[in-house]
Symmetry: C2
Subunit: 527 residues, 2 copies
């Protein structure tokens, strides 16, 4: 560092501590880095992804990060804040171009200088590849004028967009796929209605996951709960909408791929009635269940975009009776059950519901297993050959899921097909009686470290009810557990799509009241 | 703000000061904002664009910013650093989605709390529209394997890229232009050599400026001198390369549009021999001068990319004699002249040059005026009709330049054409004797507020020598003035393009020594 680039006076020992920290960063020396920060629960590190508090959170972040690009400090501003406290604001120049900025509070204690707080701005990237494959201003223009004029769309990387390959969240696919010659039908509808495409957004590999992770491109951020899973497989459209970088996420839902990220990130998401929206130009996962849908920040925009695809029902009163599937409680985290019951109670108190019935539904485990086997059979039929030709192209989780799909017997797939044929009309009859309400997920978005096999199993038991029924289902951000969002799911009758939006939107004021009520059961967030 | 989202204790009066600052931000109340920060020259504000020091710099930034999006504070961490100093790290949730983070040092003095330092991370955007029109991972794949494999390109928004409109830095053009059906020749060469296109990058409107500003998309950052002009018209490719977001900027140079941003941002830039690189698929400005060229961070990559287009000369010794055009001094800022003379002296001392001659060249004012009139005639011929049909589509600076072009008489254009026919061979003869060396620009990148008509006039007097000569010219980041980069320009004979790169690269170690020498005439940076 040139001495002329330093403004201020180094107290004894601080220059050495500062340089030592830079050396530890360059070496990615976890112990030395931890040692350069104060220990205990008060130490802070902030960047654009969130505020980490306490040595433990910071250490966890560091071990996941795995080093930084080579940099040199190009400018330093030193300010003495007290006898034992110094502020350093510095600029770093990266060998590969670009500059970063870091503010540090150094404190002298126990005969040495350590960092009590840091705020870091890394050098900017051209795009966040966790969220996006391509973006533009816009990437693709509207083709018409209409109700979606001025709105921007993040398109899940499963839909054809003219001129771009469809990557399906798999780099080996993205590298080989030809540029699409026409838009997918669902993209065409949006552009014709005046929306512009801001970009093509991330998906879990072949959409065969509800976690929202991707081992190739990284995991998109959960915009409502930093550090937790974003939910998938429509992770990119959900994060893009949560980040305010798009108004509409154009997505798909097979087993909950719209409803899970909406629930995890406090967004509005609609899975449409099976067969209601044209799937032309969409890469399939399991055609028995795949549907098109959308993720938005507000019910107003969700309604606007849905109405661009589906006929608006003639005005009729909203349902005033809902049904809760029996036997949910074993699938839910305790806090979710409490929040769910409390919301239904408030809706009654506020006069929005006349009755909340309990209904028997077919065994959720049977529903989930029927779904799993039919999905597996169709997914392997579609991708088996490609996977055999591309060993190592998939991450462990999805590869394992395909391996299990490969192992399904023809007989088992046939049985499941028969079960599906039996269950679908049964569930449709149930939903025709009254909308089914249930949490979209067992609880808030988990931290990656806390995910077990049970996470997926319990979630699918909730989400596959609509999938197997071929029914429309909304996830509305109306529940809060430990300060984190959980979606309220409402499953409607066939073609009830727009009614579901209106119904859930009519409940939002009551939900908002419940969340902000003093004395509400919301212990301090553990974010 | 929910009380559960606050961790720590507010000292008396701080909560009110903190809330008052947020209210002032919401109202964009400049006086209240200035009053919330300490006055004087020690106060600091940092973000990803740089470190501002002193109340004056911060106030200037604020008045240029013009308010922020509506946000609410969603989380606060308070830490008492001393009796009168408190650290606040907070998270803000924006109404339109996304979160930002801010670290503030609040200090109690003179009966009130004020901010002594702040570090701000705004909510992330999908892309930096000052720099990019579109980006991808990659946006466009290579078509072949070759020496540029693994390198990424920022394409100036004047070249056809299959599937994208060519926007020319003008929104009204971008909105109407059809998607290109084939790549420009210069794009095709890069992709065939293995490079991938990371994005389409900004240009001044119709490339008719060397400032690097754009009133529609904003001014790209100067990556070497925060707060100063980036240089143009290849501003986007230059900033993208400076930011480390691309390895190669594919650009054009008519009056210095490669050399000026390279000079301002400490990058390597080559204007090629007139006619040497195919201009097919490139939107012209003034066909008598337009050439293709590149901007890079290193001479190695500049050489690689140039060699993908132009035949590599058989090995021959580098020139050991250079010529300095007479009468430069009145065009240069004093510090630039000192640095320039010092470098030539060091090159002699280091044995890299045997002789530095002075040569008479045609009057730079005549060269510049000849250039201006021929360029204006051709630019108006190309764009006059479009401009008449699109009133208000251009910003004031470029609109004024076109208006002046419109006013040129046929007779004046004819005279200038004759002068060009006379000057071009004359300058080619001169350059054939020995490479001409001169600073690329009169001085470092100016701050926007310091730009006057003289800035453009003096710069063009330097840059149009190569333009009028149709000669290759490099700008190499070998000079430093007040801690800021200035390019060393070397103008070669026809087809000397690769020799210029080798020559300037051979001088880099000497230049680096001069810059870091103790006692070198580099007063403290005023950045």
């Amino acid at each position: 560092m040139k001495e002329s680039a330093i403004r201020g006076i180094w107290p004894a020992g601080l220059r050495e501590a500062f340089d030592g920290y830079e050396a530890a960063l360059a070496a990615d020396d976890g112990d030395a880095l931890a040692d350069a920060f104060e220990s205990g629960s008060d130490v802070i590190r902030a960047d654009g992804s969130g505020i980490l508090v306490g040595a433990e959170q910071i250490a966890r972040f560091r071990s996941a990060r795995g080093g930084i690009a080579t940099r040199t400090i190009s400018h330093v501003e030193l300010r003495r804040l007290s006898d034992d406290t110094v502020l350093i604001v510095s600029e770093s120049a990266f060998d590969g171009g670009g500059r970063g900025y870091q503010t540090q509070i150094w404190r002298y204690d126990d005969d040495r200088w350590r960092i009590a707080a840091a705020h870091v701005t890394p050098r900017p990237k051209a795009l966040d590849t966790r969220v996006w494959r391509s973006v533009g201003d816009p990437l693709v223009r509207p083709t018409g004028e209409g109700p979606l004029a001025g709105l921007t769309v993040a398109v899940k990387d499963l839909f054809a967009v003219t001129g771009f390959p469809t990557g399906c969240g798999v780099p080996a696919v993205a590298a080989e796929a030809p540029a699409a010659l026409t838009d997918a039908a669902a993209v065409e509808t949006l552009r014709a209605a005046g929306a512009s495409i801001v970009g093509i957004a991330a998906t879990d590999e072949f959409a065969y996951s509800i976690a929202g992770t991707n081992p190739h491109y990284g995991t998109p951020p959960n915009t409502a709960a930093p550090g937790r899973l974003p939910g998938g497989s429509s992770s990119g459209p959900a994060s893009a909408v949560g980040l305010g970088q798009a108004d509409i996420g154009l997505a798909t839902d097979t087993a909950g791929s719209i409803r899970v990220p909406a629930s995890y990130q406090g967004l509005w998401g609609l899975r449409t009635t099976f067969g209601a929206v044209d799937r032309g130009g969409l890469v399939p996962l399991a055609p028995a269940f795949d549907v098109v849908g959308w993720i938005t920040r507000t019910p107003q925009i969700l309604r606007l975009v849905t109405a661009a695809y589906l006929p608006d029902p003639t005005a009729r009163p909203l349902p005033r009776v809902v049904a809760v599937p029996d036997g949910l409680s074993r699938l839910l985290e305790p806090g979710t059950l409490i929040a769910f019951d409390a919301l239904l109670e408030s809706l009654r108190t506020d006069g929005l519901l006349d009755d909340v019935r309990t209904v028997e539904i077919p065994d959720p485990d049977l529903i989930r297993e029927t779904f799993r086997v039919v999905q597996g059979g169709q997914a392997w039929e579609r991708y088996g050959e490609w996977i055999a030709e591309h060993p190592g192209a998939l991450g462990a989780d999805v590869a394992e899921r395909f391996a299990a799909a490969q192992d399904l017997s023809v007989a088992a797939i046939e049985v499941a097909g028969n079960d599906l044929d039996r269950l679908r009309p049964l569930l449709r009859d149930l939903a025709a009686g009254a909308p089914l309400v249930l949490p979209s997920c067992p609880g808030p978005a988990p931290r990656p470290a806390d995910v077990g096999p049970q996470t997926r199993t319990s979630t699918l038991a909730l989400t596959t009810i609509a999938s197997v029924g071929g029914l429309p289902a909304i996830s509305a951000p109306l529940l809060e557990v430990d300060g984190l969002p959980v979606g309220l799911g409402v499953i409607g009758a066939v073609d009830d799509d727009l009614t579901l939006i209106d119904l859930a939107a009519s409940w939002a004021p009551t939900a908002a009241k419940a969340v902000t009520a003093p004395g509400a059961a919301h212990p301090q967030s553990d974010r």
